[in-house]
C-alpha cells in the first residue's frame, strides 16, 4: 500500500513536486492551508513508482512517500 502524505503545515504550494513527477501522480488541489497556499494532492496513487523524486526536490521537506 503506497501512501503519499503532504504536510499542510510545511507545504508552501510551489508545485515543484508536480512538475518533477514522471508519472503525473500529483496535481494542484482546491485545498488551501492556514497560510493560504494551495497544496498538491495525489490523484493516481496506483501509478506511483515510489521513485522518491518529489521527496528529494521538495524545498520545504513537506512531502513523504512510502519508501521502496
Amino acid at each position: 500500500m503506497i501512501e503519499i502524505v503532504i504536510d499542510a503545515k510545511y507545504c508552501k504550494g510551489c508545485n515543484i513536486c508536480i512538475d518533477f513527477c514522471p508519472k503525473k501522480v500529483l496535481r494542484c488541489s482546491k485545498d488551501i492551508n492556514a497560510k493560504g497556499y494551495r497544496l498538491p494532492e495525489a490523484v493516481d496513487i496506483d501509478a506511483c513508482t515510489q521513485c522518491q523524486l518529489c521527496v528529494i526536490v521538495c524545498p520545504d521537506l513537506a512531502i513523504a512517500v512510502t519508501p521502496k
Binding site: 504536510d7 510545511y10 508552501k12 508536480i18 521527496v55 528529494i56 524545498p59 520545504d60 521537506l61 513523504a64
Partner: protein, 273 residues
C-alpha cells in the same frame, strides 16, 4: 504519520516554538539545495558509516546562509557575512577530522567574501563549499549582484545590467580548488553525487548550484526553475555553445592545507626532541 525522511536531521521545534516551515519563499532553490545536501549526508552516515558528530555546517549571511544553525540538528555556525570560510579554517585547525560543509550565496561568496573565497581555495583547505547562486541579492530586495547576467533587469538596473557576470567556477579553478562542479537546481541526483564526491575529496571542493529566485524574477517557481535549463548546456557540448556549462568542470586532487600543516607539526616536534 509518514514524514519526510530528512526531518530526522532537522530541529523542528526550538525554545521559541516551531522552527519549520523555514523562512525561505515558496519554491526557493536554497531549500532544494538543503534537501539534496541532507540526502548526500544521510547516505554517508547510513552507508559509509561516517559519524554524525563529524559533520559541521558553517554559513555567512544571506538567504542560503539561513539554512544552518536555525534548522539543522548538526554542529553548525551562522557566522559573519562573507567570512564563513575563515571560520571553517579555524574549525579545521581545532579538529582536522571534521567534514565541513559551507553554505554560501553568490553575494556572500563573490561580493563581500571574495578575498576569503580565493584564499581558502589557494590553501586547499578541506571544505565543501555549496554556493547557491541566484544571480541577485535576494534577501535585500533583488538588487544587482556580481553574478547577475548582462542585460538582466533588477530594481537597481531597471534598464538592464551593463556589467558581465563573475564566473565563480573559473575563479575557484584559478585560485586552486581541487574539485569544481556546477549544476542547476533541476538536477537533484547529480547534485547529491557531487556533494558526496566533494566531501570525499581531501581538499577544497566548490559546488555551484544555479538557483531560481521566483519572487524577484516575478515568475512561478516551476517556470523560474525551468528557465535555468534554457541558459545552460552540458559541459560536453559547451565548446560549440555560448551558454553556461554545467557538470563536473575540474578535478585535480593535491595535498590539502591540513595535511601540510600536520607535516610541519611533525618536523617541529622532531627538532624539539
Amino acid at each position: 504519520m509518514l514524514k519526510h525522511p530528512m526531518l530526522e536531521y532537522i530541529k523542528e521545534e526550538g525554545s521559541s516554538g516551531m522552527r519549520l516551515p523555514h523562512i525561505l519563499c515558496p519554491g526557493c532553490g536554497a531549500g532544494q539545495v538543503l534537501n539534496y545536501t541532507l540526502h548526500a549526508v544521510d547516505d554517508l552516515i547510513k552507508e559509509e558509516g561516517v559519524k554524525k558528530e563529524n559533520f559541521v555546517f558553517i554559513s555567512g549571511v544571506g538567504c542560503s546562509s539561513r539554512l544552518t544553525s536555525h534548522y539543522l540538528d548538526f554542529d553548525s555556525g551562522w557566522t559573519i557575512h562573507g567570512r564563513s570560510l575563515a571560520i571553517a579554517t579555524g574549525a579545521l585547525l581545532a579538529n582536522p577530522e571534521l567534514k565541513i560543509i559551507v553554505f554560501t550565496g553568490d553575494g556572500d561568496a563573490a561580493a563581500i567574501g571574495g578575498n576569503h573565497f580565493i584564499h581558502a581555495f589557494r590553501r586547499n583547505i578541506n571544505v565543501t563549499v555549496l554556493c547557491v547562486n541566484n544571480g541577485l541579492y535576494g534577501m535585500t530586495g533583488g538588487q544587482v549582484a556580481p553574478t547577475t547576467l548582462p542585460f538582466v533587469n533588477t530594481p537597481t538596473t531597471p534598464y538592464g545590467n551593463i556589467e558581465d557576470a563573475f564566473d565563480l567556477c573559473k575563479l575557484a579553478e584559478v585560485a586552486g580548488a581541487s574539485y569544481i562542479s556546477r549544476w542547476i537546481t533541476a538536477q537533484p541526483m547529480q547534485i547529491i553525487k557531487a556533494v558526496k564526491k566533494g566531501i570525499a575529496n581531501k581538499g577544497a571542493s566548490f559546488i555551484e548550484v544555479l538557483s531560481q529566485c521566483p519572487v524577484h524574477e516575478h515568475e512561478t517557481p516551476v517556470d523560474s526553475m525551468n528557465a535555468l535549463k534554457e541558459i545552460t548546456v552540458p559541459v560536453k557540448k559547451a565548446e560549440s555553445s555560448d551558454k553556461i556549462p554545467v557538470g563536473e568542470l575540474h578535478f585535480a586532487p593535491r595535498p590539502s592545507w591540513t595535511e601540510r600543516y600536520e607535516s610541519v607539526i611533525e618536523k617541529a616536534n622532531q627538532r624539539l626532541s
